[in-house]
């Protein structure tokens, strides 16, 4: 192919030009090995003497090596850096060697455009979610949810959206190495073979595998084969944020390990016990969808009670929220059981006679909740969060069973993950083994355990005692720094793989692109121990599944056809795991286990650790989209903060930005404090995932490492932290400083409207009167433009009642529209670039706030204030009513932004795209212009998607059907809060929503005639608890 030739020629040219420099750095060592001229080149006498003065030049870069044809590691990086574009621009010419299958559009109407879409799967915590990846000429550019997948149902989480940036991250590890020497895969396999041979002599004693949680049947099979060969070997599965409580709890409640699977569609009353189920955990996308579907204002609307220490996305959606220290949740639950039992819920049995626990809650709250649960037997749900201890999960399970929710809102099934538990217990045993010196070879495929493991295990020191540590990871991270062998991992979009969703459905993950930097999969590393390391994951996978497909009654036709259909669909049919039948509560045992829970009353400040909605456990620390995403609650970017309540801060004389010293169990940590509304008193929350010391340049040194205080005994909650003020200050980069809708007491209409259900259902209420004034025609001098003659009149509606604030739309937009990141300094100066932002307002008292989210991008005003002020016609209106931005005409006066009442325009203050890596360029959406310095930009309603749909439908001689076209934010949204379409079609969803009684226009009083309409939020308070508004 000619393009190949060209690229190769250029690559060679680059190589020729780069080589002398490389030689100079590496002295003669490289040349001696490969026969290249060994004499270093120099430009001056000083430089020459310098070359001589550094005898161990190669050691200066410990990761450096010289196997690669006389190219040092650094030179190799340079070569790769400059030739990445060449190597992968031609990815059309360089598909993965194996056959991958494009997604067959089903249902037909949801996939617009010409780019190819491939179904694949991604597992954050072992459970897979189905992805649909858009690929342009072999370059994956955008991630959507696979609508056919039961967990993703076409939407995505924030972290899934950001995978694209992770794929093209130039900071990813690129070199397989032994100690500091670069080696090839075959050398590695040879070493493993040799080591394996030695280990077999003792049946594999001393061989340990430390993996992350997984549901992969292939990995499970490889594990089986490894254990066959090395019967004495052990597998340990560890996740820093493991939620073992559910499994352990079901052992208590049911006498066997089961995991719950929740269904919100039938749930009228939901009680969340420290469970952020709308934004955390493998079920979040589906639960968000099911939850929001029942938020339509009607008598059937669900009601959400949340008990939690720090405000979360789920807590923000609560109709009733109780702030409670995490360690007191169990006591509350015990009391609830007792109260329900007292009211005649006899099914609770002995659990109901435990008696009331001690805690700082309002009994009235509990009584109201109790009544609601009782009235909604079989239609209620109690969810316990990952941080809660087993006994809380057990009691929650008992309650669900007693309330008759089993089979309706919750079902219990066998664990799907290979290891039922992934918490500290197994890791502790491994640490003991290492300390005892009985571990000879440790293979680490889990996520960065040196960073994430409890601090009391001192894993960093322990690992140094293991003679052979093989680490498989995406980055040269904290763990990579102390291993003997480092195997760069292939990104999920570069890998073959498989896995199961929470309901057991299997997805095959197919690579979208050959590994950019030659990474390998976990399966390949494991296969190396059974001699299959050079088979490749694709072959391993096919062999395994070919074997599986022979199961009787499973499949028809040849395996190839079946395989192709699996790949195309993104799911393997009939692989779901059913619910376990005969689940009964072992009441006596549970009552015994739960008794101490009620008596326990700790004292002192509570310290709580929390997963981060952006970087999760720290694995996404090098992802600039996520770092720059405003935290859903605090709106903090590029940092974590020690969160505490206003009252606690006042007691300690602290303000937001004060650096405090936390002392806990004789360890100390300095962290900047931030006051957050709705946080429980006498408690602090430390978000995990920050303070990374070894990762790429994006994530290094961002925030503080809460793991430094996290011990194996108390991975989530404990009492007894002490806080002292250091007197130092810290500057946060926050996108939205002010907490409320009228921070200085002005009396402007609230931007985000919220009302209780009773008012919304009453057509004559104040609510409707007020909204009536905030929509519809206004007295004008000029007749507004008539758009009714156009084929389309684009418009959007955003339902505040559905928006949880999860921010998937923000990252989806960033990915779709090639939006730049500006860094902490940029955000601190107020120059963030995201086209859509989530305005988060609080109302009510600072301790018990009501939170409301309002996604806001350009609202495409029909009479746009931005347009008439532009002196060069760079922003104009289209016939269909889009407010368009013509980048190449823009001279950057910023007048449009000044005159935008919504302040949704974004300006390229600096050159944000000029120095992006060659790799990153590949991930840009080719259908969207990359903006240069000095140019204004803003939401376009995804005009490129409109045009793509227009082309496709015009060819077919028809118009774009409603729902055929989705904007990126709409497609990413798990709750379908955003709807886009033509307002000229009276039957379109968006037209109907614009006609909804809850509809209002933001800043309607200005007469801008925005095309984006908002639907007011509805709260569904329990009449027994309804506050007087």
């Amino acid at each position: 192919m000619s393009c190949d030739d060209n690229h190769e020629a250029r690559a060679n040219d680059r190589a020729r030009r780069s080589l002398p420099m490389v030689g100079a750095q590496n002295g003669g060592a490289a040349g001696a090995e490969t026969g290249l001229p060994s004499r270093p080149l120099w430009r001056s006498i000083e430089e020459r003497s310098l070359l001589g003065a550094v005898p161990g030049a190669a050691n200066e870069f410990p990761g450096g090596a010289s196997e690669m044809d006389g190219v040092s590691r650094r030179g190799f990086m340079q070569l790769l850096g400059v030739s990445t574009a060449i190597a992968t621009v031609g990815a059309a010419c360089r598909k993965p060697n194996e056959k991958i299958i494009p997604f067959v559009r089903r249902p037909e109407e949801i996939t617009p455009g010409n780019a190819l879409h491939f179904a694949t799967a991604y597992a954050l915590e072992g459970y897979t979610s189905g992805l649909l990846v858009e690929s342009h000429e072999g370059r994956p550019t955008k991630i959507e949810g696979n609508p056919a997948h039961p967990e993703t149902i076409g939407a995505t989480t924030v972290t899934e959206q950001a995978l694209i940036l992770g794929l093209y991250d130039d900071d990813r590890a690129k070199q397989l190495r032994r100690g500091g020497d670069a080696i090839g895969w075959q050398t590695f396999l040879g070493d493993v073979k040799a080591r394996g041979a030695k280990l077999t002599e003792r049946g594999g004693a001393g061989l340990r595998f430390l993996t992350g949680p997984t549901t992969s049947p292939l990995l499970a099979d490889l594990r089986r084969r490894i254990l066959e060969r090395f019967p004495q070997a052990k597998f340990v599965s560890y996740a820093a944020v493991a939620g073992d409580g559910a499994v352990e709890g079901s052992k208590m409640a049911f006498g066997r390990p089961l995991v719950p699977r929740h269904h919100l569609a039938p749930a009228a009353v939901i009680l969340s016990l420290d469970a952020d189920f709308l934004a955390d955990g493998p079920e979040q996308t589906r639960l968000s969808r099911e939850f929001s579907a029942r938020r339509e204002p009607s008598r059937d609307m669900n009601r959400l009670y949340v008990v939690e220490p720090a405000l979360t996305v789920t807590g923000g959606m609560a109709d009733h929220r109780l702030r409670l220290r995490g360690s007191e949740v169990g006591a509350l639950l015990g009391s609830l059981c007792a109260m329900l039992s007292g009211r005649g819920l006899s099914a609770l049995g002995p659990v109901g006679s435990l008696g009331h626990g001690q805690g700082s809650w309002d009994p009235k709250w509990l009584v109201a909740l109790c009544g609601d649960l009782e009235r909604n037997r079989g239609r209620s749900l109690v969810i316990a969060g990952r941080r809660q201890p087993p006994v809380v999960h057990a009691l929650a399970a008992a309650l669900n069973v007693a309330l008759g929710n089993l089979g309706s809102t919750v079902e219990y099934g066998l664990p799907i993950t290979t290891d039922a538990t992934t918490g500290t217990a197994a890791l502790g045993a491994l640490a003991e083994d290492i300390a005892a010196g009985s571990v000879d070879t440790l293979v680490v495929t889990g996520e960065n355990p040196v960073y994430a493991a409890p601090v009391d295990y001192k894993l960093a020191q322990l690992l140094k005692r293991v003679p052979n540590v093989i680490y498989h990871g995406l980055y040269e991270d904290e763990t990579a720094a102390i291993c003997n062998y480092f195997v760069p991992a292939a990104h999920v979009l570069e890998s073959w793989g498989d896995g199961r969703a929470t309901d057991g459905i299997v997805s095959i993950a197919q690579p979208l692109i050959a590994p950019l930097w030659g990474g390998h999969t976990e399966a390949e590393v494991l296969a190396a121990f059974v001699g299959d390391g050079d088979l490749g994951t694709h072959e391993l996978l096919r062999r395994y599944w070919r074997g599986m497909s022979k199961l009787p009654g499973n499949l028809v036709g040849s395996f190839d056809n079946v395989w192709e259909r699996w790949l195309a669909d993104g799911i393997v049919p009939d692989t779901g795991a059913g619910a376990e039948a005969g689940v009964t509560i072992n009441g006596q045992a549970l009552a015994q286990a739960a008794a101490p829970l009620l008596a326990r009353s700790g004292s002192g400040m509570e310290i709580a650790f929390a997963t981060d909605p952006k970087v999760f456990d720290g694995r996404f620390a090098n992802n600039a989209w996520l770092q720059e995403l405003a935290h859903p609650i605090t709106k903090l970017t590029w940092d974590n903060a020690l969160l505490l309540s206003d009252a606690t801060a006042k007691g300690l004389d602290l303000e937001t930005g004060d650096i405090v010293e936390v002392t806990y169990r004789d360890r100390t940590l300095e962290a900047p404090a931030m006051i957050v509304p709705g946080h429980v008193d006498d408690a602090i929350t430390l978000p995990l995932g920050y303070g990374r010391t070894a990762t790429g340049h994006v994530g290094r040194g961002v925030g503080f490492n809460a793991n430094a205080l996290r011990t194996s005994e108390a991975p989530w909650f404990d009492r007894g932290a002490a806080i002292s003020k250091t007197g130092k200050r810290f500057k946060f980069a926050i996108t939205q400083d002010h907490w409320t809708m009228s921070p200085d007491g002005r009396e402007s209409p609230p931007p985000a409207v919220s009302a209780p259900l009773a008012e919304v259902l009453n057509a004559g209420s104040m609510f409707h009167e007020e909204l009536e004034e905030r929509r519809g025609p206004q007295a004008v001098i000029h007749q507004p433009v008539d758009y009714s003659g156009q084929a389309y009149k684009w418009g959007m509606s955003v339902d505040l009642n559905k928006c949880t604030g999860c921010s998937a739309c923000v990252v989806a937009c960033q990915s779709e529209n090639n939006i730049a990141s500006v860094g902490k300094d940029g955000v601190g100066r107020g120059r963030e670039m995201q086209w859509i932002r989530i305005d988060r307002y609080f109302s009510g008292p600072v301790d018990e706030p009501e939170m409301i989210n309002q996604p806001l991008g350009c609202v495409h005003c029909e009479t746009a204030p931005c347009e008439y002020v532009c002196p060069v016609n760079a922003t104009v209106h289209s016939d269909e009513g889009l407010n368009e931005m013509i980048y190449n005409r823009c001279i950057g006066t910023r007048y449009c932004s000044n005159n935008c009442p919504y302040k949704v325009r974004r300006f390229n203050f600096l050159d944000y795209t000029g120095d992006i890596s060659a790799a990153r360029e590949l991930g840009m959406n080719p259908e969207v212009t990359v903006r240069s310095r000095g140019v204004m930009e803003k939401c376009t309603y995804c005009v490129q998607r409109i045009e793509r749909a227009r082309i496709a439908t015009r060819i077919e001689g028809r118009t774009i059907a409603d729902g055929e076209l989705q904007t990126a934010c709409q497609q990413g949204c798990p709750t379908q809060a955003i709807v886009f379409g033509s307002l000229n079609d009276p039957n379109s969803k968006v037209s109907q929503l614009h006609a909804d009684t809850r509809r209002y226009d933001l800043l309607h009083e200005l007469g801008t005639r925005p095309r984006t309409a908002y639907l007011a939020r509805v709260r569904n308070p329990n009449p027994e608890l309804a506050k007087v508004d």
Partner: protein, 466 residues
Amino acid sequence: MAAPNLSHDPLEPLPLIEGTHTDQTINDSLLSHVLRGAGKGWWMLFGCALSMLGLLVIAISWTLYKGIGAWGNNIPVGWAFGIINFVWWIGIGHAGTLISAILLLFQQKWRTSINRFAEAMTLFAVICALLFPLLHTGRPWFAAYWLMPYPSVQRIWPQFKSPLTWDVFAVSTYFTISLLFWFLGLVPDLAALRESTKSKTKRFIYGLFAMGWRGSGRHWAEYKWAYLLLAGLSTPLVLSVHTIVSFDFATSVIPGWHTTIFPPYFVAGAVFSGFAMVMTWMIPARHFLGLKHVVTMKHLENMNKIMLVTGMLVGYGYLMEHFIAWYSGNPYEMGQFFLTRWHGPMRWIFRTMMFCNVVVPQMFWSKRLRTSIPVMWVAAILINIGMWCERFNIVVTSLHRDFLPSSWKDYSPTWVDLSLFIGTIGLFSTLFLLFLKFVPAVAVTEVKELRHELAEHDAVAGETHA
């Protein structure tokens, strides 16, 4: 009436020219600072000004290299120092135009000794102002010509609805007319310099710019007409330029900008600040250049009176903004004027403005204060500061808290912003010092003419009296 040279009779107005002079002595005294070599003081000042100008060059280079991100601007504060400085400098120019054109048309004789000075100031202030509209754009290399209605092959015209397009015309017209007006007035004086100088080079250069002026009757007749015509052209400019500049704000929807009172209030503010700037420079200049006999206390007092009047107009503007905000009942307007301006994070700038622009000029009600050199000089500087603060309030304070609290942001300038501001003061000072060195600071011809007029007037008066 008595002899021309009066002792200070309290019933008589202060004289416009002090002492007895002939044309020759006027020539000598007013041209001497041009003809003699530069003094130590001049060099020192010039050195300071040049170093500030150097800062400007650095700041501009850095801005062009890095982009607008080198400044402190953000979203929502899209405009800040750039536009503040632009409006401030344009405003300063207004005193010159007012003095040269309007006072000429009203035949105010006291304008003659200060008009040259003020016109030069106009010119230099407009040069300083003109830097910013271009510099503050994201892509000045396109802004430089896309703002002009030229027959582009892209067949795109500027957007004539945009006040920024109007600005281009308003300011470029203003600059052209001001330059012509100033130069035309200079021509006879340049001829006088050509005749007086002893250096051959200077004679050639002054001769070149004197454009063959021989002082013939016909020359004078044409000159007078041309001067009057240009004065007529300039007069509407005094009102129009700042009116149009104010449209940049008034036509927008932002609370604090969207105000119908802006045009008159901007013009008054411009004249106010312009006179303050003239005073700031005139007071030391008349002292060091020996111009006290032509720039007398009467001139200074008159200018103080104008500052009192325009200061009160500006104060009325402030009052009206608040009144209309309250009267309209618009919550955003009320929020802007009653909460953000007085109590927001930038309240100190607002309060400084109120003090400098409203309180300080009230001193000039007192004859004693308005004729005290130190008092008026300090007051002039305070008014300059106050007017800069006013523009800061309008531009930044309005923008940083507009409609939706979610997008509110604070603003702080960077070193580049400060350097640009200081740098333009350097540019202004450099040009001004060069002007004082090479061109007569006072319109010699006009002063001579005035002397004749006054002498004749007195002679006639004396005859009648006799």
